[in-house]
Amino acid sequence: MDDVKTPSSEERKSALSGLGTSRKRVEDARFTQGKGNYVDDIKLKGMLFGDFVRSPVAHAKIKKIDTSAALALPGVHAVLTAADLEPLGLHWMPTLAGDKQMVLADGKVLFQGQEVAFVVGDDRYAVADGVALVEVEYDELSVVTDPFKAEMENAPILREDIADQKEGAHGPRRHPNHIFTWESGDKEGTNKVLDEAEVVADEMVYYHRTHPCPLETCGCVASMDKVNGKLTVWGTFQAPHAVRTVASLISSIPEHNIRIISPDIGGGFGNKVGVYPGYVCAIVASIVTGVPIKWVEDRMDNLMATAFARDYWMHGKISATKDGKITGLWCHTTADHGAFDACADPTKFPAGFMNICTGSYDIPVAYLAVDGVYTNKAPGGVAYRCSFRVTEASYFIERMIEVLALKLGMDSAELRSKNFIKKEQFPYTSALGWEYDSGDYHKAWDKALEAVNYKKLREDQAKQLELFKSGKSRKLMGIGLSHFTEIVGAGPVKNCDILGLGMFDACEIRIHPTGSAIARLGTISQGQGHATTFAQILASEIGIPASDITLEEGDTDTAPYGLGTYGSRSTPVAGAATAMAGRKIRAKAQMIAAYLLEVHDDDLEWDVDRFVVKGAPEKFKTMKEIAFASYNQAIPGVEPGLEAVSYYDPPNMTYPNGAYICVMEIDVDTGVSEIKKVYALDDCGTRINPMIIEGQVHGGLTEALAISMGQEIAYDEQGNVMTGTLMDFFVPTAWETPNYETDFTETPSPHHPIGAKGVGESPNVGGVSAFSNAVHDAFKPFGLTQAHMPHDHWRVWKIAKDLGLHN
């Protein structure tokens, strides 16, 4: 036996596939074989289908709904209208933002695509025929799609239900179409600085309306079992526990009799955070019919009605000294929330974390005001691959920096560098009140500039400009710079809740007798690979190989309560809970090991996967041995078994950051742009799985590319959605998507148990600014200061035209 060498710590560490390894994903076996279990794959005995009659117009009184022809159709079982839901008190439902929303049109419709009636039938085909036969008479009203016009004196009143309410969920309302005013920072101080400043740049920055558009649309299967009184709902829920609580509150079904299951989810990106009328109608229909009901929206429904994102008009003023030291920032945002305020933000933050808009810069004084406004557009306002309103904030400051640099006649890379929060200033409290936990912005910035050879890029750009000016080329080169600071991991219960539910998260671990384990979390993966990465966190904490740990999420009957996955909160919050639960396991394991080794607890030290007696390395107990002992030894003062649960309330948010650079070539005649280079440096703190991080960055950059270069939800003046299919709603194919270069620095979060900050949303936050700034930069020599996104062909062409670049 002597020749069997005990593996070294390093060898044993590597066998765990813990933190820092590019572990292959455990999810992929089922997905590559077509064995994923998405909501539309669920088939239950006796299941019926439901779908909506939707409003073809954006604003109208409903004079009459005639369901008789639909009901007469064989295969149609029921048609629900607001009148049917009213006795149950379910014709309206609360939104996540303190407003209420019609489940089915109650006397009027407020946006195109609004749910008017719910038809239930044998299958999709019968239901579609039924939908076509429901006759609705509309009496059309004037439409307002422009948030600035919505607050005019003669504007049509949208929400007659609350027209007279002077007080909303977030303070006073000054107009029937006004929702709230939210302020942050020092108004007087900022105004004073601006008044006295040497240089002030003043600009309106619009971040247009778009949509998360996950490849799988939203849907659910609701099954009310009348025998045992239990409601089970499978659905595309990014926050299954919150859905359970909301469902209980609005349906009066006791919460223990509701089971919410999020099966595999085909991408979320914020689209699947909200509670939609489809869920409520499917539940009611199941209660009414006594059989399971499936509702799955189609792509047009999805783009028209569930969860838009952005639509922020951000008016900014930024002041600086002549030599480029920023002295103050002012922002007034007009936020177009559509017909109902259904934004998915923590309660105290009706404009999300828009007050992270001081970005990566040390700005002494700032002021932000946001006005929320109703228009005849779909409700939503979700965080599309970002933390709450953080891409808006980041885009705003990164545009303002560029505009200021223009005004100063300064290179914007230098302006950024001059104003970054310095490493030694962390933890840093921003003028708008956030405590940035950590970062080394200068290091990242310098690394990025060097990696792309910034000086050489500017020389190439100058050469290209010469070619253009001399008539030898019709192309311009743009260099888009972006530095961003995300604020993710919502969040501390003291200031973050949704509908009163504190935004902690949880992990529960059970170690089996043979030394393998199961962990359950309050989050739910939608492609992020939680089953892979959370097992890695745990492997490093408890010394059990990641491959021996099963991860489960999404079933509210088994998983501990958590607030779900969005806003890059899984790693910062549930990841922390996982580490903390692991540490509880280890603490108990230490007691068991001490008993087994007949030493005092304090005489043991942890070594990768075992407790070793200090100074006697041959005396140890592995986690596997300890696990077995926990089930078969009667240890005085220690309960049998090895389980732990941690509910983690994060002490602070985390602040992932990064430096992105994009090089673009733009044809001024066609408006076509070609991406020549994208460099993305991310600092997400401790890196759990580099392969997955890289994949997240690629994906987020591609969504950023789409948003900045063409993706929008556009309305005409009558409130018709002009981008209702994937022909007009831009989702790039592999052909339009470039290759990306990724890089990193690693500044661990000081308050997170493993130092991780989250990464999934950073590339969207940083990417949009990089792409948009590249477009602006190309036209900078001709005097362009601001052009609104999306920078699709015709809008880019229009920039060139307005600058006189066409013959």
Partner: protein, 284 residues
């Protein structure tokens, strides 16, 4: 996105198909690849009671080349147009244009007949057929007739084909000279913001024959006859090409949509025409 109900027929010869369509009148519709028709049916923008699938009719298939004369069956798919080596030899512009249509899966089922007969101004093949001066053979209960592609299109979705007629084949002569099909679009799978095809033959710098056509720049495809007259017999130089381009743009009459306003589309029309002219000239 579920169509209304219909009955389905799959005749195995042309005469049966003609009889069916004659019986059903405007309640019947033929389906080729279905990639224009099915999306419209799914949105219930059209009410079809009887659907006649042409895919089992051998008479509608195949590419026949005899010397310079080319005949293509209506049910020939875009992928067949792309991969047919003989066709590429005699009419390479067809491959160039077809590769710019839709995406690989759609090209596997999308047919030349469906694309030209539908009358959708956004489709590329009708413009290409203007360019090639193709002739459509159409068959119905009143017999066979031929219509020039340049006389076929009357308005968006309105063509010279009667409801009870079936487009059987497309014929044209092998084009002589350089060629190009230039299309600007927002992404793969999109229709043209503006597209232009050019065929040009040149002797000693003088244009001996030419053809120019535009796609999605009006409610029908456009054959640019004025521009062609300007070219023929003239020494080709940059200034002539820009005059010709101008003439083409004048003939265009696009509508605003999400691709951009009219002014932009007309400008891009000039760009794609000019590019196509230059590339065809380089290849001549």
């Amino acid at each position: 996105m579920i169509p209304s109900a219909f009955s389905f027929y799959k005749p195995d010869n042309l005469q049966k198909a003609i009889n069916l369509i004659a019986d059903f009148g405007d309640e019947g519709r033929v389906i080729a690849g279905g990639h224009s028709l099915i999306p419209v049916m799914k949105q219930r923008l059209t009410d079809i009671k009887h659907l006649i699938d042409l895919s089992a009719i051998n008479e509608l298939k195949g590419i026949k080349i005899k010397g310079s004369s080319i005949s293509i069956g209506a049910m020939t798919t875009q992928v067949e147009l792309i991969t047919n080596a003989e066709l590429f030899k005699v009419a390479p512009v067809i491959r160039e244009a077809s590769l710019q249509i839709a995406d690989p899966q759609v090209r596997n089922l999308g047919t030349i007949g469906g694309n030209v007969a539908n009358g959708d101004p956004a489709n590329d093949m009708p413009g290409l057929m203007q360019l090639l001066d193709a002739t459509y053979t159409i068959n119905g209960k009143n017999g066979v007739r031929e219509i020039k592609a340049r006389e076929f299109y009357e308005g968006a979705y309105f063509t010279a084909r009667e409801d009870d007629e079936i487009l059987v084949s497309i014929s044209f002569n092998s084009p002589i000279g350089g060629y190009a099909y230039e299309k600007q679009k927002r992404k793969i799978g999109d229709y043209a913001t503006a597209a232009a095809g050019v065929i040009l033959s040149v002797d000693n710098g003088v244009c001996s024959s030419a053809s120019i056509a535009l796609t999605n720049l009006s409610d029908t495809p456009i054959y640019c006859s004025d521009a062609v007259s300007m070219l023929i017999g003239k020494q080709i130089d940059d200034s002539l090409l820009s005059e010709v381009t101008k003439s083409c743009v004048e003939q265009s009459d696009p509508v605003a949509d999400q691709r951009g306003p009219v002014e932009f589309k007309k400008y891009v029309a000039g760009i794609v025409v000019n590019k196509a002219l230059n590339r065809a000239f380089d290849r001549s």
